[in-house]
């Protein structure tokens, strides 16, 4: 099982957890396993065509999976996956 760090905007979809354990050999498998456990995250992570939404950045440990093999990037048990949607908040 790998650890997936959940950003604040998605926490309501996973029952409030900051981190979720999910299994899979590749980044895409882990995220789909997350979406199966917590169906509310699916539409936020994936487009209707099953692609990762462009506004969601995914990191394997500290590296953007876009510069690795994307959703095909291999994952080991000790890896952490970080899901990161853009934040715009300053505070008026």
């Amino acid at each position: 099982m790998s650890t997936v760090k959940i950003p604040p905007v998605l926490r309501a979809s996973v029952g409030g957890a900051k981190e979720v354990e999910a299994s899979g050999a590749k980044v895409g498998d882990v995220l789909r396993s997350l979406a199966e456990q917590h169906p509310a995250t699916e539409s936020q992570l994936f487009s209707e065509e099953g692609e990762l939404n462009r506004y969601v950045n995914v990191y394997l440990n500290d590296e953007d999976v876009r510069v690795l093999d994307g959703l095909e990037t291999s994952v080991s048990e000790s890896d952490t996956i970080v899901i990161l949607p853009a934040m715009a908040g300053g505070c008026r």
């Binding site: 760090k5 950003p7 604040p8 905007v9 998605l10 900051k18 936020q44 939404n53 462009r54 506004y55 969601v56 950045n57 990191y59 500290d62 590296e63 953007d64 876009r66 510069v67 970080v82 990161l84 949607p85 853009a86 934040m87 715009a88 908040g89 300053g90 505070c91 008026r92």
Partner: protein, 396 residues
């Protein structure tokens, strides 16, 4: 017991002294093996005048600081002081105790150098009041007089005098940033005071640019404040941002962040960016053409339901303080050249768990903005992103 003069004479016999003419010729022959010239006098002496290009390591700090100035022990080094005594003692220490292989002391010091008619560098000086005010900066080698002068000459633009802009305004003013521009079209509201520390109870209803100016001048009356009481938009951003050295981004919405990114890439001004929500903050530096831009990190914004604002979702009041001050540190590093900025890195701060996570941010070779020549980016493209119309309609 030997007298002090005897000791100095003996030490001079054990080291090599060179005439100012030799030092002058060596440093002007331009053949690439010029020696490092080190001034070992006290701070105030160095600041009055010194040899061109000399580095300053006071004799009292020689052992602890010389390696920072001259790391290679085989590098030729010429030391000088006022008349040649202190530099002789320092040369002896470097040669005998620190293992430098090619150390010489300039005979007659800067006094003889000047008598020979060679030029000296007279640095700009701080006033007595400035010397006192910035004394703790002057003591830090990474800032020192040179860094403080850069801060005094610097022009920093704060986008927003709100949660992030407030602490940045106060600390950058305290640090001696010469000119602080503030863009804000809002007035101070009671609900701002939980976090926007540049404002105060008795300034509720006052424009934030005016309130922030008062707070800045209470700390440091020398700061030149440029107030832009407007809403930042495509029609004014280029005009406002031009001429600033660093931009501090405390914006609260995506369209303006993309607009800012595109303007800053065109103008080649680094942006220190932070965002906050709830108990979490993000920080990075977008340094055009030296690192990734905002669009390299976030090619497209999330839909409105995934991008709540602080106004809607709330924020711990201290959080923008933390993030605004991390921004201020990055600003000072960009201005002084000290340390390494957050360019190419993204910091995530989780206040509840007290965790810091650092992620790498890469330049996107296909970035629609920063992969291009800045002159080729047109006004019409600025701030535009996929589904822009839809996004703005959704945000209402």
């Amino acid at each position: 017991m030997a007298s002090g003069a005897d000791v100095i004479r003996k030490i001079k016999e054990q080291i090599e002294e060179v005439d100012p003419k030799v030092v002058h010729d060596l440093s002007h022959n331009g053949n690439g093996n010029a020696p490092v010239i080190v001034d070992v006098r006290e701070q105030h002496e160095f600041e009055e005048a010194h040899l061109p290009g000399a580095v300053h390591v006071p004799r009292g700090h020689l052992e602890s600081r010389i390696e920072g100035a001259v790391s290679d022990r085989s590098q030729p080094v010429v030391l000088y002081c006022a008349s040649g005594n202190r530099s002789a003692l320092a040369a002896h220490t470097m040669q005998e105790l620190l293992g430098y292989e090619d150390v010489t002391s300039m005979r007659g010091g800067i006094t003889l150098w000047k008598d020979r008619g060679y030029e000296v560098e007279v640095p700009r000086a701080l006033t007595g009041e400035q010397r006192e005010r910035y004394s703790r900066h002057l003591l830090v080698p990474e800032i020192g007089l040179e860094g403080q002068m850069k801060l005094l000459d610097a022009r920093v633009l704060l986008l927003g005098a709100g949660g992030l802009g407030s602490p940045a305004a106060l600390y950058l003013a305290a640090a001696g940033v010469g000119t602080i521009g503030i863009v804000d079209n809002d007035v101070v509201d009671l609900s701002n005071l939980q976090r926007q520390v540049a404002h105060s109870n008795d300034r509720i209803g006052v424009p934030k640019v005016d309130s922030a100016e008062i707070a800045i001048h209470e700390i440091n009356p020398d700061v030149n404040v440029e107030k832009h009481q407007v809403r930042l938009g495509a029609d004014n951003i280029m005009e406002i941002a031009e001429g600033y050295d660093v931009i501090v981004d405390g914006l609260d919405n995506f369209p303006t962040r993309y607009l800012l990114n595109d303007a800053s890439v065109r103008l080649q001004i680094p942006v220190v960016s932070a965002s906050i929500l709830g108990f979490e903050g993000q920080l990075s530096v977008f340094h055009p053409y030296e690192g990734p831009c905002y669009r390299c990190l976030y090619p497209t914004p999330p839909p409105a339901e995934l991008a709540p604002s602080c106004g809607a979702a709330g924020v711990l009041g201290v959080l923008p303080g933390v993030m605004g001050l991390l921004q201020s540190v990055e600003v000072i590093k960009l201005i002084t050249g000290a340390g390494e900025t957050m360019a190419g890195r993204l910091l995530l701060y989780d206040a509840l768990g007290t965790t810091f996570t650092e992620l790498k941010v890469r330049r996107d070779p296909e970035c629609p903005i920063c992969s291009r020549d800045p002159a080729s980016i047109s006004d019409d493209e600025m701030g535009v992103f996929p589904d822009y119309e839809l996004f703005c309609a959704g945000a209402g």
